[in-house]
Symmetry: C2
Subunit: 388 residues, 2 copies
Amino acid sequence: MAHTSASPGALLRHVRKGRARSRAELVALTGASRNTISARVDQLIGANLLEEGGRGWSTGGRPPTILRFNSRAGCVLAVDLGVTSVDVAVTDLSAQVLATVGHPIDIADGPGPVLAEVDRLAQKVLADAGLTPADVRAVGVGVPGPVEFSTGRPSHPPIMPGWHDHPIPGAFGRYDCPVYVDNDVNVMALGEMGVTDSTDDVLVVKVGTGIGCGVIVEGRVYRGAQGSAGDIGHIYVAQPDDRTVLCRCGNENCLEAIAGGGALLRDALAAGLPVTSTRQVIELANHGDGPAVELVRNSGRTIGTVLAALVNFFNPHRIVMTGGVAQAGLPLLAGIRETVYRRSMPLAARSLEISVSDAPEMSGRVGAALMAIEGYLDEDAIHQALAR
Amino acid sequence: MAHTSASPGALLRHVRKGRARSRAELVALTGASRNTISARVDQLIGANLLEEGGRGWSTGGRPPTILRFNSRAGCVLAVDLGVTSVDVAVTDLSAQVLATVGHPIDIADGPGPVLAEVDRLAQKVLADAGLTPADVRAVGVGVPGPVEFSTGRPSHPPIMPGWHDHPIPGAFGRYDCPVYVDNDVNVMALGEMGVTDSTDDVLVVKVGTGIGCGVIVEGRVYRGAQGSAGDIGHIYVAQPDDRTVLCRCGNENCLEAIAGGGALLRDALAAGLPVTSTRQVIELANHGDGPAVELVRNSGRTIGTVLAALVNFFNPHRIVMTGGVAQAGLPLLAGIRETVYRRSMPLAARSLEISVSDAPEMSGRVGAALMAIEGYLDEDAIHQALAR
C-alpha cells in the first residue's frame, strides 16, 4: 500500500478530509512511527486545530480516541466582488457560512470607495457573527477580471476601470493574516468543487456578458504560465457563411462576441423580440417563447463547438455551467450537449457529465472562503505556524 | 521560507534534482531536524541510492560532506514501440543511455511475436551493457495507441490490431520490477522535458500520420478522466468554403484529416506533385519546392487554428513540435506561428515559445526511461523499499 506524507499539515489534512480519524489510522495511512504521529498530533491539538472527541469503534485492545478537525479554531472572510454588487461572508474553517451581507456597488467607482465599502461590510459580518478581527485567519477575494495571483493585483481588467495594478490585499490591513485574490471564475470553480477531497478534472464555464472558464486539475485551480488559463471567451469560432462578428477586444468571431450575453441581446433585438436586457431574453426563453428558446439554444451550440474541442484535449470528468446566461438552463444545456456529444471523441464523452450549477449565487462566496482556508491550512503554512 | 517534505524519497529527489548537496542543505531546505535528516540519509546510503563524494565548500566550521545520487544503483529498460520498428535501450537511473538497439517489426503481427522480439532485444542490450536482469529496477514502454495507464493495457488502439486489452507488463516477467506503459505521445513529452526539475506547463504536439499531443502540467504528464487527454487529432476544424473532409474515424473535418501526414500526401497528389509518400512531400519542402512549401505551411496554419484555442485555454509556457511532418521544420512552424500569434490572447502569447524538437528520434527512448525511473524513485516506492 502506498504511504502518504506525515508532516503535521498533511496529518491535519488527512483528518479534515475524513481519510483518518485516530492516531492509529494516521499511523496506518502514513507509515510513520506511532511516536512521530503522537508528537505531531499533540502539536496540532496544542495549536487548537485538532481536538479529541470521544472513543471510536475498535476491533480489540484499548479503544482509539477519535480525532476531529476543530473548524471553529478561527474564521475567514470571503468577498465576492461583482460589477454591481458585493457579497461578504464570514465562515468557519469548513466554509460554513456564519454570517453574510450584500450591498450594491459600482465597480467603476474604483478601488478606493469600493474597498472602503467592503471593509465596512466585513466589520459588520464579523460583528453579526460575534467575532473580532483577531479571529480572522485569512481573507479570500474574487474579482471580475484577471488578477496576478501572487500579488493580488488586477492586471488590465477590462470591466474594472481604475483597478489595474491596485494591491487589493492592502485593503485588509486591519487583519493580521494572508489575503488571497483571484478572478471570479477561478473562485467560482473552487466553490463548485466544495469542501470535498475531489481529485477530479473539471471545467466550470461561466456564461454572462463575457465567457470564462475555471480549470480544475486534480481538484486544484490550474492557472497556466501567465495565470490566464481558462480565458476561452476570445477563442476564434468560424461562422457558417464566413460571416464576421467584431468583438470588443478588437478581434473577429470571438466566442463571447457570438454566444455571450451581449450577443444574445443583440440577436434578440435584431429578431424583433420585445426586450431591453439579456435577462429578459433569458426570462422569455424560460417561459417557452419559441424564438428566445432558439436563440439561447444557438448560443449553446456555439459554446458547444469550443467545449467539444476542449473535451478532446482536456478529457474532464465533468463540466459545470454557471453565470447569468446559464440560468436559461435547459435550452442552453441542450445546445451544448448536442454539439459536445456529436463532436467529441467517444472515449472522452462517454461518462462526461454536463450540468448547470445548483447554487450559482453561493459559489463565489464559498469559493472565496475555500481559497482562504486552503491557503491558511496549507502544509507549509502549518509547518511554519507550529515552528513559531 | 516555505519548507518541503523530508520523507526519504523526498530527500533523494532533492539531491537528484540538485536542490541540496549536503545534510546541512537538506536541513535548511526541509526544516526537519539534523537527527532526522542524518538517519534518513544513512538509510539511503545503505540502500546504495546516495553516496558520499568528498568535501564541499563551506563558510566555516567542519566542511560538509557532499552527497551524490548514485545513478548506477541500477538500470531501467526503455522500449519505444513504433508501427514499423522498435527501439530498446538500457539506461542508468539518470536516463543516460548505456546501450541501445533497434529492429524492424510490424505492429500488426500482434502482441505475441512483437513482444517476443522486444524480449530478445532487451536481453541483447542488457548483455551489451554488461548488466543482468537482476540489475533492472523498472521498465518503461511507449506504444502507438491509447493505453489504460493503471494496467498497461492498450484500449481499442486503431493502428495496433490484436493489441486491445493485452497486458503488456506480462511480457517482462523475467524482470522482478514494475512495468509502466503509456502512449507514445505522452512518453515523447516526458522525453522532451528531460531530467530537469521543470514545473512548466508544456504541450508536445506530434504531427505524423495522425496528430496527438502530450500535455504536461507542472512538469508531469496530465492524463484526464479516461486517460485520453491530448487527443487533439479529431478536433473539428471548420473549412473556409464549408468544404467537408471525411476522417478515418468516421467524422468530418477532423484536424488530422485536414493537416496530418496522410492529408499532406493526398493534397500533394491532387496538386500533381511527383511524390508517393508523405516523407517525399517533406523532402520537397525542405528543398524549397514552392508548391510543397505552401502545402506544408497550410498544414501549419490549420494546426495553428487548434493550437491558438488551446493557448487561450491552457496558457502553456511552450509548445514543442515533433513527429515526421514536424521534420519539415520551418514552413510548418511558420504556418503555426502565424496563426497562433494572430489568434491567441496577447497575455497568453506574449512569452510563448513554439519550437521543433531537437532530437525527436531519441525522445521516445529517453521518455520511456524517465517514466520507469520516476516510477522506481517515486516517494512512496522509496518509502516501501526502505521499510523492507
